[in-house]
């Protein structure tokens, strides 16, 4: 299997998982966005919402990194700029979910 096929499969796999997670999250977001501190903390720290939110963040960044790299492929011609942009994108897609999940677990302590 070549790299492009693998990337396409990852993209479709993450997309299929992300669809129900997006629906779950946006319903809950419209429910808690104007709630008080305690209710919001409760949402982010109690299972199953803690686990589902962590998965939502991981798959959102995985999916966006894969799709935005395709946009770079379409619109950036300079190879060096494209490489730097892709590396920055993948680094951000790892660091951001990691920071979020760690902070949620600290919040739970």
């Amino acid at each position: 299997m070549n790299a492009s096929t693998k990337k396409w499969l990852f993209l479709k796999f993450s997309s299929a998982i992300l669809i129900p997670l997006m629906a779950w999250f946006i319903i809950n977001l419209s429910s808690i966005y104007d709630s008080n501190f305690g209710e919001v903390v409760n949402f982010f720290t109690t299972p199953p919402s803690k686990i589902l939110f962590s998965l939502f963040v991981i798959f959102s960044y995985l999916f966006s990194a894969l799709t935005i790299s395709e946009i770079f492929e379409d619109y950036i011609k300079e190879k060096k700029i494209k490489n730097v942009a892709n590396k920055a994108l993948y680094l951000f897609a790892i660091v951001m979910p990691l920071l979020t999940i760690i902070s949620i677990f600290i919040l739970n302590l």
Partner: protein, 128 residues
């Protein structure tokens, strides 16, 4: 190398507007908006570590008209992305390639995204 001379994506100013191109471009723009929104939501969850006193400022913004507008807008961008992604997955499975069907599913995606926005917001607010 021939690969380096590959043409880039069609230039928007010379591309004839039709429902498929409109949805394709909107899907990309909405995808970028959604990941920026998810990043803000991540910062929002991280900001909870600062404690209740600091959260009051964020709560003031979220409770304002702007906050409500932001959430309803996100309901639409998420709804559109969900429906168009289902359309893409159907194509990947080999369904809906016919030009007429593709146009119909495109219109359903646009109209459906507005209906889904209202449904999601009302579900969130426990109005049903």
């Amino acid at each position: 190398m021939q690969h380096e001379n590959n043409p880039l994506a069609p230039h928007l100013q010379i591309y004839k507007w039709q429902i498929s191109s409109l949805l394709s471009i909107t899907h990309r723009i909405v995808g970028v908006i959604n990941i920026l929104a998810v990043t803000l939501i991540c910062f929002w969850s991280i900001s909870l570590l600062l404690g209740e006193a600091n959260y009051i400022n964020i709560q003031l913004i979220l409770k304002s008209f702007f906050g409500k507008f932001l959430i309803i807008s996100l309901c639409w961008t998420f709804s559109f992305h969900i429906l168009n992604e289902i359309r893409h997955l159907a194509w990947d499975l080999g369904y809906g390639f016919d030009l007429k069907i593709s146009k119909i599913t495109g219109v359903i995606t646009i109209i459906g995204s507005f209906i889904l926005t209202v449904t999601i917001y009302l579900l969130g607010k426990n109005i049903f």
